[in-house]
Every structure is written in structure tokens, then in C-alpha cells.
């Protein structure tokens, strides 16, 4: 090369070197920026991984992930707990070793969902009745699904398996099925129990109206009808009570109550049956009066139910005992019998709704199987407990009611106190009901007791009768045609004649709201159909007003 050529080549090369240096510096800056960005991304990724790990550890479901060879890559704590394997121990193992699943019913192995996901590439749900066999051999009912894990290119890179323990849910489902079955059985029992009294009533009514019937036969018919109606009323009362308790609508009328009076009232209810079966009955209660805050009628209802049950399920000549004592600030009342007893397996469920021990059904002498459930609810409303014990079939039973001994801080009044009887004089009574049979039969009963009774069948007639009869007592059906019982009461109360009359609502609706509505319309009393004639008679005999 000539010196000039060499010089030019050198100059060009060295100028290039400057540009190369600039390019290198630029590349280094870009690399630095890229490194910083990478650092930020790495930190973000680390945080995301941490967040993901915390999330997987926090969720209530079990999570297992695998690679595309069905080898375990991760277990969250719930999965560790359910399988019995730690994530570290399980890593790299075949899924089947750790997630061993069988059919709950057949106990045969179930096809692994991860395999299905890898084959289909879609989300796969577990079959029903799948159970996981843990490392310790424990079998847990499980449910859920497996899904493919895909990379950003859509390629499957693993499988995520999510499952949870359904043991409790399956138990609840079984309980619901059992409850539903018991409800169906109850409805069948109810239909049977309500139909049973109809035949004797119908037959007694036919006998009573037969021209050839003797007076004795007529009296017998009336007794049959009365007994059967009482029985039906009892069934319906229990039903209504259960309904109120279920809806939280039953309220206790708590007052200072004397223990012996409550027990006496209960014994009175059960005594006829015990006498019929010649039971040896004994009662052991404290000598001194025991007062405590309770609803005496409801408590008597509970004890009457226990005593009636004892009488039903104890053979003739058996022993029944009531004992009561005060212990540890509680009152404990026990009803013990030598009856058929309760099998151990049934003890847990005797207080369940509709649960009547099967073997006892043929001896139950009717009943809906809700008595003990109702009793338990009433005791619990008092803040108490009730439990049953039995040494087994044929070895008798014991029911123990335990109640807190509370006080109202007001003078005690015995629940057995009775309102003083008034003069047994005839009253002017107006009955207004569009159910003619109900109205006429009630009128007949009251007339037999010496009252002067007028019967009408709608509200308009009732208002007219107030003018003409000027009754002292008026029994008004609420759902009457033309003018309702409420409206009749309001108008009567607005008139000069209506201020002194005692107004009694007669209705099929017995909720507290119905009662309040009747009182607001001007009624003094609210009676639920069917009316107990004795209560009404007592009311008419007394000048006092009792609600």
C-alpha cells in the first residue's frame, strides 16, 4: 500500500473504533437497563410466587399439582393433612401413591383424574362417591376436580387437582334424608291418628240420633264423642305447639310456680291411664314447698307427657315413680318406670321429631311421636335439659328433667290457684258463627247449663242481635260473612250498649299476632277452635275476666 492509502485506511479504521466504542457503551447501557428490568421482574416473580404459595396454603381446599408424567410437584397443607404426605416427601412420586382414591361403595380403585386430564386436555370432575385412602389407611369422602395447567403457549405443563373433605356434608345429607323419611312417616301417622277418632264419632252420632236409642245409649254416645274430640284436640294442640317452637313463636308465661302443684297437675292427666293399668305409682318430692320461675302449664305439659309415656309403655302392674329434688341450684325431676325400656341405639334419637322407637309403636296407643320432642323444646325454653336413660329393652326407662331454679322476685302464686268460682247464674249469651253445627251445638251445651243463648250466622245478624238481646257475653266467629268478627267487635265497642259486654273471639287462628289483633278490635278473650266447653263454662260462671 502507498503511505497515503495506508494512512486513509488507518484513519477510517480508527474512526470506526470510535463508533464501535459508542455502540458498545450504548449496548452496555441497554444491558444495565435490561438487568435492572430483569431484577424488577425477578422481584415481582418472587412476590407472585410468595403470594401464590401463601394463597395455596391458606385456602380450605386441598391442592396437589403434578407434572405431565403424573408426578407430584406440590401439596398444600390441607392436601398434606388429608393424604398424610408432606409436600417434600411426595415430590417426584407418582400421584397414585399419594392420592389413592377408591369408590366409596365398591371400594374398587378409581381412574386417576390427572390421567384423564392429560389425555383429554379438559377439566375433569371426580366421580360421585369417591374416597381418598390416606397414608394411614383412613378413608375420607372427597369431591372436586382436576384441570390442566397450560403455559402461555397453551401447552399442558402439568395438572392441578383440587379436592375437599365431604364427610360432614354427606352426614348432613344423610340426616336430611332421615329427617325427610321421618317427616313422611309422621304425616302417615298423623293421617292415621286423625282418622281414628272419626269412626267412633260417626257411629256414636248415629246411635245418638237413632229413634230407638235409649237414654243410656245416648249418654254413652255423648261420652264417646267427647272423649274422641278431646283426643283430637290434644293432637292438634301438640302440633300447634311444635309449629310455634319451630318458628320461635312460642312464648312462656313465666310466673312463680310451686313444684308440687305442677307435678299434681301432670299426675292428674296421667292418672286415669295408670289406674286403668293398675300401675304402682309413687311420688317423692321435697316436704317444703319449692317455688321457682316457670310456665306452670307448659311444665305440667312436659311432666304429663313423660308420665303418660311411662304409663303407655309399662305393662299392667308395673311401677312408675316421680321423684323431685333441689340440687346444686337446679330442680331435678325424674320419671322412672319398669316398662319396655329403650335400646341403647335409640337413646340418642328419642327426642328427635317424629322419632318413636319402632318396637314401641304398637304399644303407643296412638300419638304422633312428637311428645318427647315437644317436651325437650319446652324444657330448653326454660333453660333446662332433659335426658333419657335405660338399661335396655325390658329394663325400664328414666327421664330426667333438670331446670334452673330461678326467681322472679315477686310473691309466688301457685299455678294450681284457681279463680274463685262465680255465681252459677244464667247469662245472656250471643253466639255468631256461620258454621251452623258448631254454633248450634255450643248453644245447646250452654243452654243445658242454664244460660240464655241466641244464635246468629253472620255479622250483620250479630249486630242486630246486640240491639235486641243486649247480651252479657258474645262469642263471635272472626271469619263470618257480610261483617267480620273484628268489625262487629269494633262497632259494638263504639256503641253505648257495647261497653259492658264481654266479647270472645272464636277462631281457628291461634298465633300471638291473631290474639293481639282480636284484643285490638275490642275482644276481651281469644279462644282457639275447638273451644273447651269447661273453660267457657267457667268463664261464664265468673264475673272476673281471665285471658
Amino acid at each position: 500500500l502507498s503511505p497515503e492509502e495506508e494512512q486513509e485506511l488507518r484513519a477510517a479504521a480508527l474512526k470506526n473504533a470510535q463508533s464501535i466504542l459508542a455502540a458498545r457503551q450504548k449496548a452496555e447501557r441497554e444491558l444495565l437497563a435490561a438487568n435492572e428490568a430483569l431484577g424488577r421482574k425477578s422481584e415481582e416473580l418472587r412476590q407472585q410466587r410468595e403470594w401464590f404459595a401463601v394463597t395455596l396454603s391458606s385456602i380450605g381446599d386441598a391442592v396437589i399439582t403434578t407434572d405431565t408424567q403424573s408426578r407430584i410437584t406440590f401439596l398444600n397443607p390441607v392436601a398434606e393433612s388429608m393424604t398424610g404426605w408432606t409436600s417434600a416427601d411426595a415430590a417426584g412420586m407418582a400421584l397414585e401413591k399419594v392420592f389413592h382414591i377408591i369408590n366409596e361403595d365398591t371400594r374398587l380403585e378409581v381412574i386417576n383424574p390427572v390421567t384423564q386430564v392429560l389425555l383429554s386436555g379438559t377439566i375433569v370432575g371426580l366421580a360421585n362417591h369417591t374416597a381418598l385412602v390416606g397414608r394411614n389407611g383412613a378413608v375420607i369422602g372427597i369431591e372436586d376436580s382436576a384441570a390442566p395447567i397450560r403455559d402461555t403457549g397453551g401447552n399442558i405443563v402439568g395438572v392441578v387437582l383440587v379436592f375437599h373433605d365431604v364427610t360432614e356434608r354427606r352426614q348432613n345429607e344423610q340426616m336430611l334424608r332421615d329427617a325427610d323419611r321421618r317427616k313422611d312417616e309422621f304425616l302417615a301417622t298423623l293421617a292415621h291418628e286423625l282418622r281414628n277418632p272419626l269412626a267412633p264419632i260417626r257411629q256414636a252420632a248415629m246411635i245418638a240420633k237413632a229413634p230407638s236409642a235409649t237414654d243410656a245409649q245416648k249418654r254413652w254416645s255423648h261420652d264417646v264423642i267427647s272423649r274422641q274430640v278431646d283426643h283430637m284436640a290434644l293432637l292438634l294442640d301438640d302440633l300447634l305447639d311444635i309449629s310455634r317452637i319451630t318458628r320461635g313463636a312460642l312464648q312462656l308465661r313465666v310466673e312463680m310456680t310451686e313444684l308440687a302443684a305442677v307435678i299434681d297437675a301432670a299426675v292428674e292427666t296421667a292418672r286415669p291411664l295408670m289406674e286403668t293399668k293398675r300401675h304402682e305409682f309413687s311420688i317423692h318430692i321435697p316436704q317444703e314447698p319449692v317455688y321457682f320461675a316457670a310456665d306452670p302449664l307448659r311444665l305440667a305439659q312436659v311432666l304429663a307427657n313423660l308420665l303418660t309415656n311411662a304409663a303407655k309403655y309399662t305393662d299392667a302392674g308395673g311401677r312408675i315413680q316421680v321423684r323431685a329434688e333441689v340440687a346444686g341450684g337446679d330442680i331435678e325431676i325424674g320419671v322412672v318406670d319398669t316398662g319396655i325400656g329403650i335400646p341403647a341405639a335409640a337413646l340418642r334419637s328419642v327426642f328427635d321429631m317424629f322419632a318413636q322407637v319402632k318396637m314401641a309403636q304398637d304399644r303407643s296407643d296412638g300419638g304422633l311421636g312428637i311428645g318427647l320432642s315437644l317436651s325437650k323444646a319446652l324444657v330448653e325454653l326454660h333453660g333446662g335439659t332433659i335426658r333419657a336413660s335405660s338399661a335396655g329393652l325390658g329394663l325400664g326407662s328414666e327421664f330426667i328433667v333438670r331446670l334452673p331454679m330461678r326467681s322472679l322476685g315477686v310473691p309466688a302464686r301457685s299455678s294450681g290457684a284457681r279463680i274463685a268460682a262465680g255465681p252459677a247464674v244464667g247469662r245472656r249469651v250471643l253466639i255468631a258463627d256461620d258454621n251452623r253445627d258448631a254454633a248450634e251445638s255450643l248453644a245447646m251445651l250452654l243452654s243445658l247449663e242454664g244460660h240464655e243463648v241466641t244464635v246468629v250466622h253472620d255479622g250483620q245478624q250479630a249486630l242486630a242481635a246486640f240491639q235486641t238481646v243486649q247480651p252479657e257475653f258474645a262469642l263471635l266467629d272472626i271469619g263470618m260473612p257480610i261483617v267480620s268478627g273484628y268489625d262487629v267487635a269494633r262497632r259494638v265497642r263504639q256503641s253505648s250498649l257495647g261497653r259492658a259486654v264481654t266479647l270472645i273471639a272464636i277462631t281457628g287462628w291461634g298465633q300471638d299476632g291473631d290474639r293481639a289483633r282480636a284484643l285490638a278490635a275490642g275482644f276481651n278473650h281469644h279462644f282457639t277452635k275447638p273451644i273447651e266447653p269447661e273453660l267457657l263454662s267457667e268463664l261464664l260462671r265468673t264475673s272476673g275476666i281471665r285471658t
Binding site: L1, E5, E6, E8, L9, R10, A11, A12, A13, L14, K15, N16, A17, Q18, S19, I20, L21, A22, A23, R24, A27, L31
Partner: protein, 354 residues
């Protein structure tokens, strides 16, 4: 385990092709295509016949030379670029960039694509280095096209070419860096060489580490008409910088060096653990055809300085980097290649490797 052996690239073109190229000097006439095709097929066949485990297409379609093949025929290139004087007394003149932007007219993957149709063994592809191409930008600049922009464009074009070759399935892509010692000759201070290393590393930085495992760099003092352009520059001034290039394979001419031991010592001093050095065991510019035993002895000599696991063999240079170079015949070239292959195998056996 064998000692790997690879060729450098060019094989003298058949006489029929050279004759046709004299009639159509721009090399692109359609009538040349069958001749190119015949030359490639025959080269691949002869190459495979040598037993070489890796071959090339002999650069049969690089119808001008190994340096400027990518820009031949472009309108923005003038013929009066820098000159390379060879020891035989002739000068090779390179084109000069007259206007921007700088773009390749063709990428070497098209050659690879042709040869792949005939090859039964792995094919490597040689491409020119960015540093060699950088000399096309003139000292007084190009109006409206900055030197900085040129460097950026050059890097992008080079990276594109290499990546296309890798994607087409090249066993290796060899970057020809024959201007290394020439740079020291032009600028004895070493600054120019350092900038060449920087430039080439800028390009190499754009590849992943996996890609770089398939990249190599070839250095020699030039070979044209049985002469060199920079053999008079001490290798010691190049080799330390050479091993700073961010590749794994180095193809280093050695057979033509007067003091191979000294060169091997320098290599031993600067080789890095992830490097493999393919030492030249045949000299294309030497008419003497090496025997397999001579080659074997050169390999065994090299093995005393370079760990066997990092040693390979190659030719010192292409056998006809410039298309019109007829100083070496095809027969001689393949004989030398055959000697390289057999001699390398003998050495491997002598070293207990097979």
C-alpha cells in the same frame, strides 16, 4: 471419543464454473445456476468421500470472495475501497460504501440451503465478520448516513445472517476473522484490533448462550494465490485478544506457522475452560500435500499444550477464499482434507481415544 475435525470453508471452483464466470463476471446470470448446482453437488460428494465428519459447500456460490459476498452488486457500493496487499505482490481491493443505508444483498443461509439438499453429514457455514465489513465505511464518511448508524445496521445485518444460518440447521456457523493480524499491521498500537474485538462481541452478545455454542471464529493471515496478507505480524499480538471473543470454537491457522510450539504455548496461556481450539493441521497455501502421519504428529504436538477435551483440527484456511484463485486444485484441496481427517483419527488412536 474422537477428536473433532472441521473444514474452514472454500474449495477451488470447477474449471467449467470459472470459465463461465469469466463470461458473466457479475455471477448472477441464470445460465450459471446449473453450473453452481453441479459444483455444489460435486463438492459435497468429494467432501463426504474424504470422511470429514463435518463439511461445507466449498463456497461454490460465493462467486467473488469470502469477504464481500454479501454486498456484491449493490448500487451503493463503489469499487475503490481499501486495498489488501498480499505477499505474492498482488492487491485485493474491497468495495466502499457510497451511500446509506447499509444492507446485505444476500445472506449466507441461501448457500447452506442449497448444500443441504445433497449433504448426508453435518454442514457448517462460514460468514464474514462485522469487523471485516466495517472497513467498507470510508474515512471521510458517507453524506447523510452516520458512522454510528452504519455500525448499528452492520450489527443487525450480521446477526440476521448468523441466526438465519442457525435456523436453517447449520452444524456450526463460523465467523471469518482473517483481518485480526491485518488490524495489528494497520495499527500496531492494537487499538484497531481492540475495536474489532469489541465490535464482534457486540454482535455475539445478541445471541443466547445456547446459540453461541454453535458459533466459532476463524483466524488466519490470509490465503490467496499461495500467499498471505499478514503472516509477518506476530501471532502473539492477536491471540490474547482473540480469546476474548465470546464464542466457544476457535479455528486457528497453525500448520503454516514457522514456530508452532510458541503459538501453542500462547494458546495454552489464554484458552478458557469453555473453549475448543481447532488447530490448523494442513496449509492450503503450501503445495505440499501433508500425509496423515504428518497431521497425526501435529495433533499430538498440539495435544501437549491443549487439553484433549478442548482440542480439534481444521485447515489453516479456505482453499480458495477468492473465487478466481486457481493456485490450488480441487484434488489437492480434498487430498489435504483427507489427510486432515485420517491424521486426526490416527492421533486420536495414538492418544487412546478410539
Amino acid at each position: 471419543m474422537d477428536i473433532p475435525t472441521e473444514p474452514i470453508g472454500s474449495i477451488p471452483r470447477p474449471a467449467t464454473l470459472l470459465e463461465a464466470l469469466r463470461r458473466h463476471p457479475d455471477g448472477t446470470d441464470a445460465s450459471l445456476d446449473p453450473l453452481y448446482d453441479d459444483a455444489i453437488r460435486d463438492t459435497v460428494r468429494a467432501f463426504e468421500a474424504t470422511g470429514s465428519p463435518v463439511i461445507t459447500d466449498g463456497e461454490q456460490r460465493k462467486y467473488h470472495n469470502f469477504w464481500t459476498y454479501s454486498v456484491e452488486g449493490l448500487a451503493n457500493m463503489l469499487p475503490n475501497g481499501f486495498s489488501i496487499p498480499f505477499s505474492a505482490g498482488h492487491v485485493r481491493r474491497m468495495p466502499r460504501l457510497a451511500a446509506g443505508p447499509f444492507r446485505y444483498a444476500r445472506y449466507a443461509d441461501r448457500y447452506l440451503e442449497n448444500a443441504l439438499r445433497y449433504a448426508h453429514v453435518p454442514l457448517k457455514q462460514a460468514v464474514i465478520s462485522p469487523s471485516a465489513m466495517s472497513l467498507m465505511y470510508p474515512a471521510d464518511g458517507v453524506p447523510g448516513y452516520s458512522r454510528d448508524q452504519f455500525i448499528e445496521d452492520l450489527l443487525r445485518e450480521h446477526v440476521t445472517e448468523v441466526r438465519r444460518c442457525l435456523e436453517k440447521g447449520a452444524h456450526k456457523v463460523q465467523i471469518d476473522f482473517t483481518e485480526g493480524r491485518l488490524a495489528v499491521k494497520i495499527d500496531p498500537s492494537g487499538a484497531l484490533l481492540a475495536s474489532f474485538i469489541d465490535l464482534n462481541n457486540l454482535a455475539l452478545a445478541r445471541f443466547s448462550s445456547a446459540e453461541r455454542k454453535r458459533l466459532g471464529v476463524h483466524t488466519c493471515p490470509g490465503a490467496d494465490r499461495d500467499s498471505t496478507h499478514s503472516a509477518d505480524v506476530d501471532y502473539a499480538q492477536l491471540l490474547p485478544s482473540l480469546f476474548e471473543l465470546n464464542v466457544c470454537s476457535f479455528y486457528v491457522s497453525l500448520a503454516g506457522e514457522p514456530d508452532r510450539i510458541r503459538i501453542l504455548k500462547i494458546i495454552r496461556e489464554h484458552i478458557k475452560p469453555d473453549h475448543r481450539v481447532f488447530v490448523g493441521v494442513v496449509a492450503p497455501i503450501n503445495p505440499h500435500i501433508e500425509s496423515a502421519e504428518e497431521v497425526r504428529d501435529r495433533v499430538l504436538e498440539a495435544a501437549q499444550f491443549i487439553p484433549i477435551a478442548q482440542l480439534g483440527t481444521t485447515d489453516d484456511c479456505g482453499f480458495a477464499p477468492f473465487c478466481d484463485d486457481i493456485s490450488t486444485s480441487r484434488e489437492t484441496a480434498f487430498s489435504k482434507i483427507s489427510a486432515r481427517v485420517r491424521g486426526t483419527a490416527l492421533a486420536a488412536r495414538a492418544l487412546g481415544m478410539r
